[in-house]
């Protein structure tokens, strides 16, 4: 359970070394000590645990100006779960007042899928807010759930069966990632099961501190999947992956009967390229004539190999040229719905990322996060941003054309 009282001991494990300054995108932008993990922790401790300071709008603002990117937790050798403590603090201080579009996305889009009328509504909201269309995600003409569902058989000799957890990014914005995921999996001998009725993984609600809503989504998803008969659960999104691996169980009461299922999911969840790289490709793609770079998503800490997989899968294909950025792991500033409410800050964070990408002069940027994909695309003119599994699917097409 993400309750602050459960973190009272661990919050004191912060040695105050300050190393988290080195990787916090928000700190590096404004250089405000109050926004560094060590001081966020001390402030939360003073306001909500020790109660030596009142809870003020500035306190809430500091809590809200966190991307929950986990760069600090990954940097922290004292292993302080900073992101969870910030979420618990947000939950304890109550919901923040959400902006129009964001509250719409949060309350409607993510909890109920397949409501086609919603798309027009989101579009008109964007217009009302005077936001440039390019700076808001455009919904795909057909969600992934209307393209693939049920069981898709393996091609050739079957190696096993996997369940596919379809995240919101793929369902609403980028069905092409889902299509490529299914194609590459089946092509490599995996039968793919896509249970109907999947909902959001819950990470946006959790980030907001709305733990009840997050718990509901987690429970809905856990009940849908029969894990006994699959070898793995596949996600194409590193944030869904983190949520499933590290947070599902924490959304539930310790005694919740769903705990066992949550543990089972945690043991079987793989990001698609990570899974393919670990299992090996039975069908070899032959060529990929492209120069590309890898924008590593922030939510990478849940698997030690998730950042190597796209590089290894694609980097060695004939014709492929992987040009690493000076800081491949630098945040793009989007962070779920963060950029909708902190536009100036997010844009400044993004500008450094875009600068490095443009200087690299590659054709394509790959990343396993739909929000990074959208947010970087919105600011890049000469490069396309895509998911590595889409590039892999293309590499197969190149073979069949030859």
């Amino acid at each position: 359970m993400l309750k602050l009282e459960n973190y009272e001991a661990i919050i004191n494990k912060c040695s105050h070394c300050g190393y988290c300054q080195a990787t916090c995108p928000v700190y590096l932008e404004d250089m405000l000590e109050s926004h560094v993990a060590r001081n966020r922790l001390n402030l939360i401790n003073q306001v909500l645990i020790l109660k030596t300071m009142p809870s003020t709008p500035r306190f809430r603002e500091i809590l809200d100006r966190c991307l929950l990117c986990t760069n600090c937790t990954q940097t922290c050798s004292s292993k302080v779960p900073v992101d969870e403590i910030i979420i618990a603090a947000r939950a304890e201080t109550g919901k923040s007042t959400l902006g129009g579009l964001k509250s719409f996305v949060m309350s409607k889009m993510l909890q109920q899928r397949g409501l086609t009328g919603l798309m027009g509504k989101a579009g008109s909201l964007v217009q009302k807010m005077g936001v440039a269309a390019r700076e808001m995600p455009q919904l795909a003409s057909k969600p992934f759930s209307q393209i693939y569902s049920g069981t898709i058989p393996a091609q050739g000799e079957q190696r096993g069966r996997v369940a596919y957890f379809v995240g919101c990014g793929t369902n609403f914005l980028y069905p092409d990632t889902g299509i490529a995921t299914v194609q590459v999996l089946t092509r490599n001998g995996w039968e793919v099961v896509i249970p109907a009725g999947q909902v959001c993984c819950g990470i946006p609600a959790m980030a907001e501190g709305d733990l009840a809503a997050a718990r509901e989504m987690v429970a809905t998803n856990l009940n849908l999947f029969d894990l006994d008969n699959v070898d793995a659960v596949i996600t194409d999104c590193t944030s869904c992956g983190m949520m499933i691996k590290e947070k599902f169980s924490k959304m539930l009461n310790p005694e919740d009967p769903l705990q066992e299922k949550a543990q089972a999911w945690a043991g079987k969840i793989y990001e698609i390229t990570d899974f393919l790289q670990q299992q090996g490709l039975s069908d070899r793609p032959a060529s990929l004539y492209a120069s590309f770079t890898y924008h590593v998503p922030c939510h990478r800490g849940w698997s030690p190999t998730v950042v190597d997989a796209p590089r290894e899968l694609l980097g060695n294909l004939p014709g492929a040229e992987l040009r690493e950025l000076p800081d491949p792991e630098k945040c793009c500033g989007a962070a779920g719905t963060f950029f909708m409410e902190h536009r100036d800050l997010s844009e400044r964070i993004r500008s450094h990322r875009v600068e490095q990408i443009e200087a690299s002069e590659v054709q394509t940027v790959i990343t396993q996060c739909p929000v990074c994909r959208f947010y970087l695309s919105a600011s890049l003119n000469s490069q396309q941003v895509t998911h590595p599994v889409i590039m892999l699917a293309q590499a197969y097409e190149n073979v069949s054309q030859e």
């Binding site: 004191n12 040695s15 070394c17 300050g18 190393y19 250089m31 405000l32 000590e33 001390n42």
Partner: protein, 463 residues
Amino acid sequence: MSGLVKDLARLIGDNNVLFQPEDLLAYANDATHYFRTQLPDAVVLPSSTQEIARVQAYAYEHQIPVTPRGAGSGLSGGATPVKGGIVVDTKRLNRIVEIDRANMVAQVEGGAVLQNFHRAVEERGLFYPPDPQSMSVCTLGGNVATRAGGPRGVKYGTTGNYVTGLEVVLPDGSVIKTGGKFVKQSVGYDLTHLMTGSEGTLGIITGVTVRLVPLPPAHRTVIVVCETLDQAAEIVSEIIARGAVPSMLEFLIKLAITVMNNYVSQPLPTDGEAFLLMEMDGTPAQVESDVQTIKEICRDMKAQEVLEILDEKAAQSYWNARSNIYPLIMTIFNRCTSEDITVPRSRIPDLVRAVQEIAASVGIMIGLAGHAGDGNMHPTVLQTEINDEMAARANKAIELMIRRGLELGGTISGEHGIGIHKQEYLAWELDQVQIELMKRIKAAFDPRGIMNPGKIWVEGGAQ
């Protein structure tokens, strides 16, 4: 908004002034692991020397305390505003101004982060050796102000050996430039090196000029597993005496290796009691011959095992883990106080023995990890609980260690500085004549006693 805040906003813009308690709280502390409650009245975030000079002149006029701050990674409480007033955060003053290959020098602003600077010079085939383990965050200005060092001190020396010039805003707001790009100068008092180690009590360092050396083409990491702490300490003395001076030479006890193993890709054996983590650098031939010498010494002195780490990535992961020992230790203990005792190298075995005896007699755990190559050990008092009794024992142990260090001809601080953490021991090391002289120097720079008051000596300021 107070008058002070309004005035500061007028001087440097309201985007660069913080005054809400939620923000000020973040500037009450540095990395010393005990929390202080004295908040500053305001924090300024200037981006130029001129802005700092304006703030400083204002503070001088109104007699307001000023505490300079870099990354706040200091381990002596130096950057904590014990008398309130204004904290000058230098992190936005962070440009690398020039890397001058022809003269092998570089100029940076005071708030530039050391690791960014390392990266920039190494890209050009040059090398700036000083390597305090906090390099991912600490600033050049903070390094100069604390005379910071690190594992490379054994071969290359520390910050003080590289600084050739400074730009400083004095307490009254005037700006001076000391030294320059030249590597020698014989013109009056050496203010550059007086400022070096001044812990923010004489002025604010806004520009730093340092000399560079060529980047050594080859290096190799070697780890020696020793049966006892004494054996490890003796091997250190022998290595130095034989002249095969490693570029880094760190002394680590088993506990350190155990926590480091949670961090590295290839865990180290933990069957020894003490470990030496070393790096040799130079030309490939020299590295090879130094490694052979070290192996010989270890064989002769019957070290348990010598591991040569040829995989570059694995080697780097050991060094990264080394720089993370302090936060890593916190996964096991609830408070750790890192001391900074430094003795002549030949006395390291004596110091190591003394630390073990003190730990046993006081009944508290003391971790040992340090830059043994230059005699700088960081015995770290480890508390499993936070209570008065434990704290009293910790203090007792620290006192005994510091006394013993001094008896061995050592110093109470090799690189962290005095700040507030060690001020009560200052008079144990320096006689009254020296302390009085220092105070007169302080008064000459800072007649109004506004510059980082309450640091170094107990009464603080220029009183």
